[in-house]
């Protein structure tokens, strides 16, 4: 039997494992649903009145693509915690002692995350529509935007797999997530227009791939003058592929050379 066949089979078995676990971890479900909703309400109603977003119907329109990109990217955080937990519980040791694919633990996780991210997307788009967000384009573009976001989630699953493997503990994963990735999502065009930021930060935010992703989503979902078609969609795809390739390479290499 070809090794590719077994890689696919092992990946499915481990993706199934993750999917089975989801309904049995209510705290995780809350993290994926209630938390992003709180964020939406906070930004829309607490900060929203003070944030000007010329060209957009309302702040909800500007905000939703940003907050969704942030939630999807940062949702992979749970992945880092779970991988660190698997290491500490000796599960990774068991998997590594089995004659299975050396990628499947991570790829299974990354594919299962797609389901979690889809759930998160449904919740977020739902609450977005309630607080005043509206799609301004056609179904095809909306779907393309959703695909892009799921691709982003997939890429960040690998990033967080790597963080979990490197840190080996929930605490360190937490620290890396909240001191590196979380601020990166804020220093972007996700919540406010970079043109309002001071020099230095503005250039950083404009070059930030999160900004690219958010602008691409805005273009695909809202369109019009405010969110023009430019290179953002293509650049987003390039970023997603690049992050996936680099992070998965490093994560798999790390997995194979674990000391446990």
């Amino acid at each position: 039997m070809s090794s590719l066949r077994w890689t696919v089979s092992d990946t499915l078995v481990l993706a199934m494992r993750q999917l089975r676990r989801i309904p049995r971890q209510p705290d995780l479900l809350i993290g994926y649903t209630i938390q992003p909703v709180m964020f939406v309400l906070l930004f829309r109603y607490v900060f929203g009145g003070a944030i000007a977003t010329p060209g957009f119907d309302n702040y909800a329109s500007y905000l939703m693509p940003g907050i969704i990109v942030q939630s999807i990217a940062f949702g992979g955080f749970v992945t880092a915690l779970a991988i660190a937990d698997d290491m500490n519980k000796g599960l990774i040791g068991r998997f590594r002692s089995l004659p299975m694919s050396r990628i499947a633990v991570l790829s299974g996780r990354a594919f299962a995350d797609i389901a979690l991210n889809a759930l998160q997307l449904v919740v977020l788009i739902g609450i977005g529509l309630v607080v005043g967000f509206g799609f301004g384009t056609d179904v095809l573009k909306v779907l393309l935007g959703i695909l892009l976001l799921l691709g982003l989630g997939f890429a960040f699953s690998w990033v967080f797999c790597l963080i979990g493997l490197l840190s080996g503990s929930a605490e360190t994963s937490n620290a890396i997530g909240f001191t590196v990735i979380f601020p990166l999502t804020f220093a972007s065009g996700a919540f406010v227009q970079p043109s309002t930021m001071p020099d230095g930060l503005r250039q950083f935010a404009e070059a930030n791939p999160f900004t690219t992703l958010v602008d691409a989503t805005r273009h695909l979902w809202i369109g019009g003058e405010a969110a023009p078609a430019n290179s953002d969609v293509w650049m987003s795809i390039v970023w997603i592929v690049a992050i996936t390739v680099v992070a998965s390479f490093l994560a798999v290499r790390r997995y194979r050379s674990l000391a446990g």
């Binding site: 089979s9 000796g90 990774i92 040791g93 068991r94 004659p99 446990g260």
Partner: protein, 323 residues
């Protein structure tokens, strides 16, 4: 070098930074035997198991398991071994049955085979009633049993058990010992690490005593005991102030210095010294009163004390990192 050795390690070395976890370890287990690796916390037992189960490459030395090199033939070897690590490696959010089926699938059994094997193992390990519950609800003993069951999904010819009963109550320990003995009766070759002398004594055909990454003694339980010298005389004094007098009275019989602990005194006896009778007579002549006196064969505890210069219990105080 025995040709029928199923587990054979030569000069294994492994360091973590400047911690030398293994400093040239040789281990041999013939087919169908149980090799006990006995040592305190931090001795290097888990490191040796990780190397032999392909989880960790050695820095030096070589090892074969079932005729396969643990480095070069790692992937092939993985289908021949079962591992129950030091910490029960079960997914707490999956049921016992789901855990075993998952392992079966990862050993590349078909879904139907995985299901029927899981069912068999749940029966064998007395987990039928708990099979539908998530492993997070299991007791320590049940988790261990599930973990061991997972290691046996493929009926591996070689089984590695890293401290299989650490943290278990005596009843669970006994039932796990029985299970391991059943496997051995079926011809499985087992390498078992333990901190419990009693466990090595009961299960292992041969024992390698390991300390600070080195094998400091190797042999059958009886051979190790013999190494420690002959029989021992244990006695309890009526008055602990008489310890010195007792030591002096027993000196002609003793083979080395006695260990004194309050009113208790323990001394190795010289061969043909006359045992309890001679000892009682001498103590009587010296006017030393005893409340209890007995001659016993040395235990592995004594062996450990003699070999390492410290008791096994005392040695196992340093903390430990999970896998």
């Amino acid at each position: 070098m025995s040709t029928d050795a199923v587990i054979e390690a030569r000069g294994l070395r492994r360091s973590f930074g400047d911690v030398h976890a293994l400093q040239g370890v040789d281990l041999v287990a013939p087919a169908g035997s149980v090799l006990g690796v006995l040592g305190p916390n931090g001795a290097g037992k888990t490191t040796a198991v990780r190397i032999l189960t392909t989880l960790l490459p050695p820095d030096g030395g070589s090892a074969t398991v079932a005729g396969l090199d643990v480095v070069k033939d790692a992937q092939e070897l993985r289908s021949k071994i079962g591992l129950a690590g030091q910490y029960a490696a079960v997914d707490e959010y999956l049921t016992g049955k789901e855990n075993l089926e998952m392992v079966g699938r990862l050993y590349h059994l078909s879904p139907a085979e995985s299901r029927s094997r899981a069912k068999e193992l749940l029966e064998e390990f007395d987990l039928v009633d708990a099979g539908g519950r998530t492993a997070g609800t299991y007791s320590g003993g049940m988790r261990r049993r599930l973990d061991l069951a997972a290691a046996l999904v493929m009926r591996p010819p070689v089984l590695f058990l890293d401290e299989p009963t650490t943290g278990l109550d005596p009843r669970s320990r006994n039932s796990l010992w029985q299970t391991i003995e059943d496997r051995v009766a079926d011809g499985t070759t087992v390498l078992l690490t333990t901190q419990y002398l009693e466990e090595a004594d009961r299960l292992a055909d041969r024992i390698a005593v390991i300390d600070h990454g080195q094998v400091i003694a190797e042999g059958t339980s009886d051979e190790l005991k013999a190494k420690v010298g002959g029989e021992r005389l244990d006695l309890v004094l009526e008055d602990e102030a008489q310890a010195a007098a007792a030591t002096e009275a027993l000196a002609p019989l003793a083979d080395g210095e006695p260990a004194v602990d309050g009113a208790s005194l323990s001394t190795p006896l010289r061969q043909g010294s006359g045992g309890v009778v001679a000892a009682v007579r001498r103590l009587d002549d010296a006017g030393v009163g005893v409340t209890d006196i007995a001659v016993r064969r040395p235990t592995l505890d004594d062996a450990f004390l003699t070999l390492t210069g410290r008791p096994a219990e005392e040695a196992s105080t340093d903390g430990e990192e999970p896998a």
